[in-house]
């Protein structure tokens, strides 16, 4: 059963680095699992916690946030703020034991097509093993 499970993943990719990295991965014909729905955002710091929580509440099995490497942000500091926000959300979910391992933050530059493919495949693999999110069909949601 878990073998057949195909996760529903949402990826918030920063326009300047990670989205371009995804583009490069595609252009170089790397194999990427097709389970990630990509949302392009102008900066990883634009990803409000509400976006992540909404995706989870609406049945996403995992949420990936990807931005420029620290120091390389197009807006100079955006990804540092993104990291703090992500840290807060992660700590909240961890302390409440609410599927904290279904969210992930990664840094992918525009030149790292290979890294993009690896990260997406690893994430898909990890969530596949983890199984469907209990929020998906929870009777109280």
């Amino acid at each position: 059963m878990t073998q057949e499970f195909k996760p529903n993943l949402v990826g918030y990719l920063c326009n300047w680095c990670s989205y371009a990295g995804a583009d490069l991965a595609g252009a170089t014909k790397l194999e990427i699992k097709p389970t990630l729905s990509v949302v392009r955002v102008m900066c990883s710091s634009r990803v409000n916690s509400n976006l992540v929580l909404t995706a989870l509440a609406w049945g996403a099995d995992g949420v990936l946030i990807a931005g420029c490497h620290p120091g390389d942000c197009h807006y100079e500091q955006g990804n540092y703020y993104a990291r703090r926000r992500f840290a807060l959300l992660k700590k909240i979910l961890e302390s409440l034991d609410l599927e904290a391992d279904r969210i992930q933050l990664s840094w992918i530059s525009a030149a790292e097509g290979k890294r993009y493919a690896d990260i997406v495949n690893d994430f898909a693999e990890k969530i596949s093993r983890r199984g469907p999110s209990p929020l998906r069909n929870h009777s109280k949601i």
Binding site: S49, N50, L53, T54, A57, W58, G59, P70, G71, Q77, Y80, Y81, R83, R84, R85, F86, A87, L88, L89, K90, K91, I92, S95, L96, D97, L98, E99, Q104, L105, S106, W107, I119, F123, P134, L135, R136, N137, H138, S139, K140, I141
Partner: protein, 415 residues
């Protein structure tokens, strides 16, 4: 320019404080002190809870006439409006041109400091005064029977011990005294750079129960006390050790309560069960002092979709609850404000279906704030965690983990 613009002075517990005898009880002594402040302290007005005539309730009043202060007391039996919120409505749109003092409970002063960082309060011309707080009663119970409430509150203010009538937030509150004390060293005098958020603190827990102590915490606080002619000549060591004793007990109680609560709240099923009775009224948000947004995302229409989207979701799931996503409101609000949560319990007081909102939020606050080296409302100079960052931190949350690389302590502050 007033001499009171320098806000973050040395915050050590002052070794000496002024003493005001209280032959007619501490309440009268506090009132007398407020009057002296007004008449001789060089202040134009005081913001303080005042009894509403012919009712058992208090309201925040900006007082200019000192005779009105007869009916004023910073420790009303219930916390109806959070003081931080009251100060925000007064100073949000600019520095008050009057030199005022705001006299409030420690949790209210903390909220005011958080709001100042969020640019919802101006503290430039405001002297913050706090008082040792024995706690408050649950609002709903007090409204149902004010007479009984007042009777009960007398025992609360007299005994200072664990009191069954207190609000749950107050029963496990460890920040009932001078701000910063609970984070400082447990023995010996606090260091000179101990965090400060208030100017003057009124100590009710002194060894001499027949009087109140007035602690000058910042230089501007000391200056005002000097103007009132009160000599700071009483040692505060006895007061401090009493506070620390109570602090230790309260901290243990808080920890035990949180450990116990962990079993009831962690995990999706239990979390949803706790919030199951929610009627979506958003009272908790409306009374929360640090939930300051003009328009909350959860009050907007942007979160709602066309019915076809809901039909689709319902079809996939088999059933869908309306209004949709009750979980999102609480988790979303939490992720926006929990780092500034001062555990005042206003949310819990306002919940019509008795969800322990304050318990959940103060517990998560205790879990998250230390991770950012932050304590809400403790230090005016400490920037908000989400408006600040280190270039190298939280390596463990990145995937792949960036841990093991050189760590630097370079701080980037966003003023």
């Amino acid at each position: 320019m007033t001499p009171h613009q320098e806000r973050t002075g040395p915050g050590a517990v002052p070794a000496q404080a002024a003493f005001l005898p209280a032959p007619e009880g501490t309440k009268k002594a506090v009132t007398d002190f407020l009057k002296t402040l007004m008449d001789q302290g060089g202040l134009d007005a005081l913001l303080v809870p005042v009894e509403v005539p012919d009712t058992p309730f208090h309201a925040w009043v900006m007082v200019k006439k000192s005779e009105v202060l007869d009916k004023a007391h910073p420790l009303p039996p219930v916390m109806s409006v959070q003081g931080g919120r009251a100060l925000s409505s007064l100073t949000k749109h600019g520095t008050p041109w009057l030199h005022i003092a705001a006299v409030m409970r420690p949790c209210e002063a903390r909220a005011a400091v958080e709001l100042a960082k969020l640019k919802q309060v101006r503290l430039d011309n405001v002297v913050l005064i706090t008082i040792d707080c024995p706690g408050a009663l649950p609002l709903a119970e007090y409204v149902a029977d004010p007479e009984k409430g007042q009777e009960r509150y007398k025992t609360v203010a007299d005994t200072w011990h664990e009191n069954e009538f207190l609000r749950p937030a107050c029963a496990r509150c460890h920040r009932f005294s001078l701000t910063g004390l609970e984070d400082g060293p447990s023995e010996g005098p606090a260091p000179d750079d101990a965090p400060a958020s208030v100017d003057i603190h009124i100590g009710l827990l002194g060894e001499d129960q027949n009087g109140i102590l007035l602690l000058p915490v910042t230089p501007s606080g000391a200056e005002i006390l000097k103007k009132t002619g009160l000599e700071a000549d009483r040692p505060t060591a006895g007061w401090e050790s009493r506070v620390r004793d109570l602090l230790k007990k309260k901290k243990e109680k808080r920890q035990a309560a949180h450990e116990e609560f962990r079993k009831d709240i962690t995990g999706l099923d239990r979390f949803l069960t706790v919030f199951d009775p929610c009627i979506n009224c958003h009272n908790c948000m409306n009374v929360c002092p640090v939930c300051y947004c003009q328009q909350c995302y959860f009050d907007t229409q942007t979160q709602f979709c066309t019915s076809s989207v809901y039909m689709d979701r319902a079809r996939k799931r088999g059933a869908l609850r309306f209004p949709p996503d009750p979980l999102l409101f609480h988790l979303g609000r939490m992720s926006h404000m929990v780092l500034s949560c001062v555990s005042c319990g206003a949310c819990e007081d306002a919940c019509p279906v008795s969800i322990p909102v304050g318990k959940v939020f103060s517990w998560v606050a205790d879990e998250t704030q230390p991770a950012f080296g932050y304590s809400a409302g403790t230090d005016r100079g400490d920037p908000l965690p989400l408006q600040n960052f280190l270039k190298e931190e939280f390596c463990e949350i990145e995937t792949p983990s960036a841990c093991g690389q050189a760590q630097s302590t370079e701080v980037k502050e966003n003023a």
